[in-house]
């Protein structure tokens, strides 16, 4: 596989480390009344739908960017690659 790094261009997948669902960016608020349930959902529950999947990859053998990769889990087609930092910033 190749991942089209937004800053560095296409790089071989072997340079990256995979983490998992990109929803891990959305860490719940610990002060919420339902924090225990929210953290449980955040930590353990995934929908695992086949098809398009947003996921986190770390460019460990590269510039250390965390990326959000939109990959089709059925075809491995990669539709979009974004800096996780930009997504996290837009959220807050």
């Amino acid at each position: 596989m190749k991942i089209n790094h937004p800053l560095l261009g296409p790089r071989d997948a072997s340079e990256f480390v995979y983490l998992g669902d990109a929803n891990l960016i959305n860490r719940p608020n610990a002060k919420s009344e339902t924090a225990a349930q929210e953290f449980y959902d955040y930590q353990y529950l995934r929908t695992n739908n086949p098809g398009e999947h947003k996921e986190l990859w770390f460019h460990e053998q590269g510039d250390r960017s965390w990326l959000v990769v939109t990959r089709n889990t059925l075809t491995h087609e990669i539709k979009n690659v974004e800096l996780a930092r930009n997504i996290a910033r837009a959220r807050s």
Partner: protein
């Protein structure tokens, strides 16, 4: 005119006998040149076998290549390029190829039909493992490994191109030439050592030249193009995601030569053109496996390319017009209702019989059952081929090809030379690449009439390599295996090293006949990588022996080696485990001495392998509050603090110390094992969770050499090397202090007053380039104190004596509460893992707690991994009270000591329980004690 150079004679041996071939020969062509028709014995029945094909599809001609003790089994003689001194041996025979004892299997063949093993070796059950399996394993298998180390060197590499052309027959050559002329970056790969494909074999007239001359002319032009890379002997073995192709390039077949033998390439191609040609298939008829029965295309290859005639009286048995191109004395054409019913001859065909009863004398029967496109690579991304009735073969599905791939020529079912050229032209024009009008060539259309199997009571081979006959397939069907996937597994059809290159479609057709269905109704064949077998050596590349993985050496490695250190692997690191002195009888002697010398005076240990992460920024303190359970924003400049990190699920991830050098600058240490993981985690926190914070991270593990200097004389030793401008007295540099200073007259250093050993202790760090010099300076300066260099074992003993948790305790299943560190968890702030660590099951008051253990009776030996039960209780999971994590012999206490996790441990101090170790069969009573065995008040480290 053949393509071998008769002026360059090459000597080789086969089964110990000397032969000569020519430069340009394969081992197969050289054997045929020497009239060697018997080259091996078949897998199951040990039938005599000869060369059948001329390329990588060869099912019969498997040989061993030898050099000294090294042997490479299962090499196809048709793809081994002959070299001087080649030693080859036949396989699967004993005592000799001509007189093989196991050929008795052939007489018992009625018993060895499909499913024989399943039906026969059923009872008694106790015989499965002890009798049947060893006996079957001895008889089974093709080829034998020599068990000698592979002496060769293999490499790996990456290549990039606009266009990858796979196969250098007429279609591939024409596509590569025109794309190359248009300036594209082209790679042309072909598995053969001579490019040209079937043109070399059939030598048709092209553009008023002989085929051989035309190929030479095209190759000369391609070689002159700087943007074209020609890769002969390179098999594209797999298609992977995003335009990545796996390729195996063979540089030489010679074992143990001076140069790299094979290179495994990862080719990144924007576009690819598959022009892999087609493979001729046999027809199933009785005794169609005798030496001398060959594929018609192979007979022409040996004649035209190698100048070898495969017989003096050749007969052709064909169902299509390509077979008729073979120079033969007899033509048996199924389209005229002529069929071969049987063959005769022991070690070689002598005659054949027709269904009409007529007997024809022949020494070579050239068979053509039609052609199968080599569409394997089109299936590697789940593409399924489609059946073409007119061509009687599967073709690639143009709607379902790997991204960026086009298929042309015979691989696409265009079985004529002109068709190959036109396909190439069409694909290039679709890509807006200018393509010259194809050269003039005779136009012959391929005509085939599907015919697969001459029915007979005798055995007719379908899969030659796995000895599967038409009867086996029919039997499988009778027994209810009607799905092609089941038939394959029951009969082993197509499951040999050739992956059914010549047998799959014929087998499918025989099954279709048996089921009364059409071939597409019966099923299809799909192919997975690799196209041809890849040696494990090539997959390993240079990663073998000491290069299997990288080696990281500590800054004091050379010094420790000079002192006679024994090293232990810790990840990629090599760390000194202990440093033996003369007269010491075992490792324990050395470790005990290192501990005692350190505790009595001073010792030095290399701790550079601990992960070091530089944390800087206005929000650095705030950031550390988020990742550690305890608070760091309040840490004063010039101070260190112990920190514990959790995973988000509440389990302990790592621990270490963190020092503050300024308002905006912290230096964190991690355990050796988790250095990479913690850094990745911190980057995740920084980029994904708190991107608004002003904080920056960089790993400085390799930039600093760091030594622990421990023991009552450690300050005195350091005072000798720290520059006088800096005060490290107890008053001005207390426990948990840190400062930047200079040593040895101006060398920049960092000094931390940290203690893992429980002694008055420091860690001193200098830029790595001074590491070797610093260890020598410390050891020299410490001579007056009898300073000792201590290793990882002594470090471990001292930390167990102090009850400090390490890797064995931070095992991914323990919480802050288990570790006795719940007091560290700040109540005032959120941090990673805090919410989930408060879950009921993890925060239970009577949960596992870290405590210490000593043998209840003197002389007992504690072992780690032991599980605890109440005295007299049975060692069953219901009674489990916890487990021992770390043990050591304590020279200070003169006893074995251990730490571990015990249910409600803090309330059990003083109790006697049992430690059960069924791995070592070591069971003993232990007393539960505080984990702080030595100097529990900590007076020594503050002194």
């Amino acid at each position: 005119m053949s393509l071998v150079d008769q002026s360059r004679v090459l000597n080789f041996t086969f089964d110990g006998k000397n032969y000569q071939g020519f430069h340009g020969d394969t081992l197969a062509s050289a054997l045929l040149r020497n009239k060697v028709s018997l080259v091996g014995r078949s897998f199951k029945y040990h039938r005599p076998r000869g060369i059948m094909g001329a390329g990588s599809e060869e099912p019969n001609g498997l040989v061993e290549i030898h050099k000294g003790k090294v042997c490479e089994p299962n090499r196809r003689a048709t793809t081994v390029k002959l070299f001087d001194g080649l030693e080859a041996k036949s396989q699967n025979r004993f005592p000799s190829l001509k007189y093989d004892l196991l050929s008795v299997n052939d007489l018992f063949s009625p018993f060895f039909a499909a499913g024989f093993y399943y039906k026969t070796f059923m009872w008694p059950r106790s015989f499965w493992e002890k009798v049947y399996e060893p006996a079957i394993r001895r008889a089974a298998g093709l080829g034998r490994l020599s068990h000698a180390a592979d002496p060769d060197q293999y490499d790996k590499g990456f290549l990039f191109c606009d266009l990858l052309v796979i196969g250098a027959g007429p279609a591939g050559l024409w596509a590569a030439l025109n794309a190359g002329r248009a300036g594209k970056q082209v790679i042309l790969a072909d598995e053969d050592f001579h490019m040209g494909g079937r043109i070399l074999s059939d030598n048709p007239e092209i553009a008023a030249l002989s085929g051989h001359e035309w190929v030479a002319q095209i190759l000369a032009e391609l070689s002159a193009l700087a943007n074209v890379r020609l890769m002969p002997r390179t098999t594209i073995y797999g298609v992977f995601d995003h335009g990545i192709y796996g390729a195996l390039e063979t540089k030489t077949d010679e074992i143990g030569g001076a140069n790299t033998r094979q290179v495994l390439w990862k080719i990144n191609a924007e576009r690819s053109i598959l022009a892999a040609g087609a493979t001729e298939r046999p027809i199933a008829f009785a005794n169609n496996d005798r030496p001398g029965v060959m594929l018609a295309s192979a007979v022409r290859t040996y004649a035209n390319r190698f100048g070898v005639t495969c017989g003096s009286n050749i007969a052709v048995f064909t169902n299509n017009n390509s077979g008729l191109e073979t120079n033969a004395a007899h033509i048996i054409d199924t389209r005229q209702a002529h069929y071969v019913s049987d063959t005769m001859g022991r070690h070689r065909i002598k005659a054949l019989r027709l269904v009409s009863g007529e007997k024809i004398r022949t020494d070579c029967l050239a068979v053509s059952g039609g052609w199968n496109p080599n569409l394997h690579l089109t299936c590697h991304k789940r593409g399924r081929p489609v059946w073409d009735d007119a061509l009687a073969c599967f073709k690639p599905d143009p709607k379902n090809l790997p991204e960026g791939m086009s298929v042309i020529g015979a691989a696409n079912g265009s079985f004529s030379t002109i068709g190959a050229f036109r396909d190439a032209q069409n694909v290039l024009m679709d890509d807006q690449i200018k393509c010259e009008k194809p050269p003039n060539v005779d136009h012959i259309d391929y005509e085939v009439s599907a015919f697969w199997h001459v029915k007979s009571k005798k055995r007719a081979w379908v899969d030659f390599q796995n000895d599967v006959t038409a009867k086996d397939i029919e039997l499988a069907h009778q027994e209810g295996f009607s799905s092609v996937e089941h038939v394959k597994r029951y009969t082993t059809l197509g499951m040999a090293t050739d992956q059914g290159r010549t047998s799959n479609v014929v087998g499918l057709a025989v099954l279709a006949e048996a089921t009364g269905q059409s071939i597409p109704q019966t099923g299809t064949t799909i192919f997975r990588p690799p196209y041809t077998p890849i040696p494990l050596g090539a997959l390993a590349g240079r990663h073998k022996g000491q290069d299997f993985k990288p080696v990281r050496q500590t800054p004091s490695h050379d010094f420790a080696q000079e002192q006679g250190a024994t090293f232990v692997e810790s990840g990629y690191w090599k760390r000194a485990q202990w440093i033996a002195r003369k007269g010491e009888k075992g490792w324990r002697d050395s470790v005990d001495r290192e501990v005692l010398m350190t505790r009595n005076s001073v010792g030095v240990c290399d701790v550079s392998t601990l992960g070091k992460i530089d944390v800087q920024g206005r929000d650095a303190g705030k950031f550390l509050n988020k990742v550690y359970v305890n608070t760091f924003s309040t840490l004063k400049v010039g101070r260190c603090r112990y920190g514990l990190m959790l995973r988000e699920d509440g389990m302990a991830m790592d621990d270490g110390t963190c020092a503050r050098f300024s308002d905006t600058h912290f230096v964190m240490t991690t355990t050796t094992a988790n250095a990479g993981r913690v850094f990745r985690h911190l980057e995740f926190c920084r980029q994904c969770l708190w991107p608004e914070m002003d904080v920056h991270l960089i790993s400085t593990t390799e930039q600093w050499a760091q030594y622990a200097v421990a023991g009552p004389n450690s300050r005195k030793l350091l005072e000798k090397i720290v520059d006088p401008a800096f005060d490290i007295s107890n008053e001005n540099f207390p426990y948990m202090g840190c400062q930047e200073l200079t040593i040895c007259g101006g060398v920049r250093a960092r000094l931390f007053r940290l203690s893992f050993s429980g002694e008055l202790a420091y860690e001193i760090a200098v830029p790595t380039r001074y590491g070797d010099s610093l260890i020598r300076t410390l050891m020299k300066a410490g001579e007056e104190f009898e300073v000792v260099l201590y290793g990882l074992e002594a470090l471990g003993v001292m930390r167990i004596e102090k009850g400090h948790p390490a890797g064995n305790e931070l095992n991914g299943q323990t919480t802050a509460a288990n570790l006795g560190l719940s007091g560290f968890v700040s109540k005032k702030k959120d941090c990673i893992g805090k919410v989930l660590s408060q879950r009921e099951g993890l925060a239970a008051q009577d949960g596992l707690a870290l405590v210490g253990f000593i043998p209840a009776h003197s002389g007992g030996k504690i072992t780690n991994g032991a599980h605890f039960v109440e005295k007299g209780a049975k060692a069953i999971p219901e009674n489990d009270l916890g487990y021992m994590t770390s043990v050591a012999w304590s020279p200070m206490l003169n006893s074995y000591i251990g730490i571990g996790f015990l249910k409600d441990g803090k309330n059990r101090l003083g109790q006697i329980i049992e430690a059960k170790d069924y791995v070592r069969n070591n069971h003993l009573e232990v007393e539960v004690v505080s984990p702080h065995f030595f100097d529990p008040e900590g007076g020594r480290l503050r002194g």
